[in-house]
């Protein structure tokens, strides 16, 4: 291939990439590779296409190949860092990003990624610092301003965060990401109506932004007072450090078990203990299921229906169904005895499983967690079935199921914290 033809192809491929015509861009770049299978520009463009199409592993392989051919290109390291960031591997991402920055320390975009990595790692102070370093390179870098505001918000500096966002919006009022950020600030300030305006605006600018859609859904659900409390709790928890969050969960649990330690003595404090346990269980269940139940509300609202994805829809639907059937079973229990109450309780506990299950269900596939959930579900069904066969078997099954469920939930909530 003639050298100048190559530039023609590469330039076309870049244009196509910019216009998000990935298939055509790859075709142009491949034409260059036919002449020289190790052409760094072409490989990088193909990698970029794959990255934007969420084929992150292939993108990483291609960028690695590029780095092997041209170790001095900072942008390649940045792309690698970004790919690892998308795979949620922050250490690797930071490793490559530092290489990019050391090769070329004047790109604001590199620092905005760095700030975002720090935010994911919950190192908010460092995130602010990185974003400000980026702003020193380019004071009008919207992504740095956004990252800065995100970090400031987590540091409880709402006013500074607001200021940062407002300047980002002044620079580019048509940036969907900025509007999403603005929306979250308002949610944090417990002003869902204003939040909604910004999420709507973000969706108007980029209707395919998942972030904007998530914010929009959350703002819609805030019409429910209970959900608003739940959201405030989650936002508050997300601001705390990991140790504090685990301490909080364990602490509350210890407190509850302390107050209810003598709930079997039959005295007055026994009553209080049982009430405390009851309230505790309801609150815990609410933190787990509140979101999905609020989704069930969206399911019947005219706007929300379209915002939910299929998995969320099925989750909300099945959790609601399980509760409805469990309630019916309780009704039956009034006439036919205790056995039915137990079954209703076990059925109701399925809601916890459906809450985190991925839909459509892939039977005994889809990762360890999903397989475990499905195994628990089968165990629960066996337990319900056993109650119709023999009372003893039912007792044994119940204990096994409840212990397994409790173990999984505890492990799960600690891991999530």
């Amino acid at each position: 291939m003639i050298e100048q033809n190559k530039y023609h192809y590469i330039e076309r491929a870049r244009l196509l990439l910019k216009q998000k015509r990935y298939k055509e861009a790859e075709a142009e770049a491949s034409a260059v590779l036919q002449g020289n299978p190790n052409d760094v520009d072409a490989l990088q463009i193909i990698g970029h296409c794959r990255l934007d199409n969420k084929q992150v592993d292939e993108a990483i392989a291609l960028f690695q190949q590029c780095v092997g051919l041209d170790a001095g290109d900072d942008y390649l390291y940045y792309l690698l860092a970004f790919a690892w960031y998308q795979k949620n591997k922050m250490d690797k991402s930071m490793h490559y990003l530092q290489q990019a920055i050391s090769l070329y320390p004047h790109h604001a975009g590199y620092f905005s990624l760095q700030a975002n990595i720090y935010i994911t790692q919950k190192k908010y102070g460092q995130a602010v610092e990185a974003a400000e370093q980026g702003l020193r390179q380019n004071a009008k870098d919207v992504s740095c301003l956004n990252a800065r505001s995100k970090a400031l918000l987590r540091l409880n500096l709402e006013d500074d965060a607001m200021e940062s966002i407002q300047s980002a919006l002044q620079i580019d009022p048509e940036d969907a990401q900025t509007h999403v950020n603005y929306g979250w600030v308002y949610l944090e300030k417990n002003e869902p109506q204003k939040a909604m305006e910004h999420f709507r605006e973000a969706l108007r600018i980029n209707p395919n932004s998942q972030y904007a859609k998530n914010g929009y859904k959350t703002a819609l659900k805030c019409k429910l007072t209970l959900y608003r409390w739940l959201l405030q709790y989650h936002l508050w928890m997300s601001r705390q450090s990991k140790a504090l969050r685990i301490g909080f969960i364990v602490g509350i649990w210890l407190l509850v078990s302390f107050f209810s330690r003598d709930s079997n003595t039959g005295t007055r404090s026994d009553m209080i203990g049982q009430v405390i346990i009851g309230v505790y269980i309801v609150l815990v269940l609410f933190t787990w299921l509140g979101n999905t139940l609020a989704n069930a509300y969206l399911l019947v609202s005219p706007y929300g229906r379209y915002a939910l994805d299929n998995s969320e829809k099925w989750s909300a639907f099945s959790v609601t169904c399980v509760f409805a059937v469990a309630l019916a079973m309780c009704g039956v229990g009034i006439f036919y005895g205790e056995e039915w109450f137990w079954n209703a309780a076990i059925l109701a506990s399925f809601s916890i499983l459906f809450n985190v299950m991925h839909f459509p269900v892939k039977i005994f596939r889809g990762g360890k967690k999903q397989v475990m959930l499905q195994a628990l579900l089968v165990l629960g069904l066996i337990t319900i079935a056993s109650s119709f066969i023999s009372a003893d078997a039912a007792t044994v099954c119940r204990s096994v199921y409840l212990i397994a469920l409790a173990a999984c939930m505890w492990a799960g909530s600690l891991l999530n914290a």
Partner: protein, 441 residues
Amino acid sequence: MNEIIEQLKEAVHISPNNIPLRLHLAGLLLKENQLAEASEQFAQVLQLQHDNTKALTGLATVYYRQQKYSPAIILFEQLQEQHALDNDSRLLFIRCLLKENSLTPARELYEQLLHDQPDFKDAEIDQALRLPGMEMGMESEALLQELANEHRYFMEKPSLNFSQVGGMKQLKNEISLKIIHPLRNPEMYKAFGKKTGGGILMYGPPGCGKTFIAKATAGEISAKFISLGLHDILDMWIGNSEKNLHEIFQVARRNKPCVLFIDEVDALGASRTDMRQSAMRQIINQFLAELDGVKDSNDGVLVLAATNAPWSVDSAFRRPGRFDRVLFVAPPDEESRREILASILKEKPAESIDTAQIAKLTANYSGADLQAVVDIAIEQKLEESLAKGVLQPVTQKDLLKAVKQHKPTTGEWFTTARNYALYANETGLYDDILRYLNLKK
């Protein structure tokens, strides 16, 4: 030869300030391709006399051969300032500019070169600069005629017409009203003071017949048909864009009635974020000026544009007088699918096919998808026929199997379009999509 060089070196050593001698030595070294030494000698000469044209030319040539294009360009520019650029160095200069990808100055120089030497021809440069016609030293008027005659820009006169297009009733009506009636009853439109010509923008998922109906429109009014594709548009971005665009419109104006079809027109508009770059803005403005017919009347020129991504099309395109009709080309309905299937299967060996049943099963399939379904069925039959040695006709069962294998490709488009219709539809532009998807807000 080496001996001579050695002798010359000695002589230069004795009289280091003798410029002609040094130039002679450097020239020989260059001839022998001893580039490092040649460059040293030329540099020495330039130290003695900084504007020596021979040394400048020589050094630039050395740099060119060493593939150091940017220093070579600097030297050539100096020569250009001194008006000492001969044709050989001009050629090298052009080559350097091409390597550095500065197409506009390269093109200017090449035009000068062709002016001085009309017989000159260099395939490589021609290809890079895409200047066919220029090599013949033609005037732009003549070039235009040539382009029209040569059927460049894929000019054709389609024999298709509306009766051959299944379904798409609304679309056909809109096009008739805007184009076909004005051409058939010009006096009536004149009476109402309405201009003929103008634009229609069609959008919809890929493979649903946007190009097809554009061609049929041209056939219906027996107009010429010029089609511009994605690659033509991209080349405008890269090369000398505005002139090209004007040329195409001129060709269309000279060949009226003419349908100018621009596929993937969103490539012209690019996306919002890209548009802030002024270089890209320019071509959009030129396109708008051509559409408006600022300098030349567009009477009798119908501009049809198609896009899969209407949300990327610059909103300025949709103002009155430009693409004032925006039409949604949906995947074919059941009746149309039946017609399409029947026409695809018409000349294929097939046996008792119930196209209605397949049409029922293929909701959301585009025309291209239906073609793919038939292709899959035929491929399998072909394999079987080769194995058995007897021609096996395609049966209903084969087609049903193929339908299961090939899922509609329009799904992906609709997931994106659905979001735009739900969240970015203030102007009601995407109401058709909402209606098609049965979404109510």
